[in-house]
Symmetry: C2
Amino acid sequence: VGVSASQASSERAEWVERARRTLAEEGYRAGEARSAVIDVLGAEGGCITAEEIVSRLGRGGRTVGVASVYRALALLCELRLLQGTDIGEGSVRYELLGAKREHHHHLVCDHCGRTVPFEDRGLESAIEGVSRRVDYSVAVHEVTLRGSCPSCRRRAGVDS
Amino acid sequence: VGVSASQASSERAEWVERARRTLAEEGYRAGEARSAVIDVLGAEGGCITAEEIVSRLGRGGRTVGVASVYRALALLCELRLLQGTDIGEGSVRYELLGAKREHHHHLVCDHCGRTVPFEDRGLESAIEGVSRRVDYSVAVHEVTLRGSCPSCRRRAGVDS
DNA sequence: CTGAGTGCAAACAGTTTGCATTACT
DNA sequence: AGTAATGCAAACTGTTTGCACTCAG
């Protein structure tokens, strides 16, 4: 359906390794919190919120302060290893950025909140077209599609 | 540039009138706060945050509690007179919904926060295409383009 | 009159910041 | 050793809620 599921785990492992390397190269230390956050991001493959990371870490026995998680996320964004997008749920979801700089967007279920990524070449080129035409110089873009996921639609009868 | 400026004031006046009528028809009372919020929305033509409405009201001498503003906005959204979109600034921007159900999206300046609406047929059809293809049933969509507005670009030299 | 609507202040959620402590390198 | 990184708690922002008061119908 033009929808990409989560990346292969090899890809995610590669991201983790690249993140560590980049951090080191840039002179940042590998502290407990930072490493833990990178591990979770790698394990999850992105599309995750700060809170989800904190709770996942807590469950895994690694107690990490929220502040450190936010600081780690901010740093990874700054180093272009991660990108945060506000899908309008009140919290930001973070996506791994690969070398391929793939653009994907989000499909959000208004009922259960289930969020899945998708990508579409036609959409990208339409956006490129608009970007060229407007007087802002566009650096990034975000697209969110909202509706009902298959299971909520089935469960609730009519959609939306 | 395919960018629509703000609607004609007649259109906004029409919206105000329709909002009042709809509210009355649905059995809601026309209290001070509610009316004031509708007036501001009509005067601004949309693309405004709750806080902006509060401060605009304050400046105009009408003291309205934040809570009432949020409640009025929620009600208008429920009645499909208004649509809130989270552009990722931390606050939600509200747009008047006309009978024409026009789709516009946002161009946000990452430096000064200046937000302008735009519309693009090609983008809409690309989105319709994706919507048809995915397994969610898509009800609404939001697109945000981020970058530098002309004046920030001029002021800061290089963009983004 | 009477309850819908309002304002205030307190509560909340997500995120950020100050600061003393910890632990990479 | 020395400083970057961390954790805690307190601050902050945008939004929501509880509750007594008020005013539109």
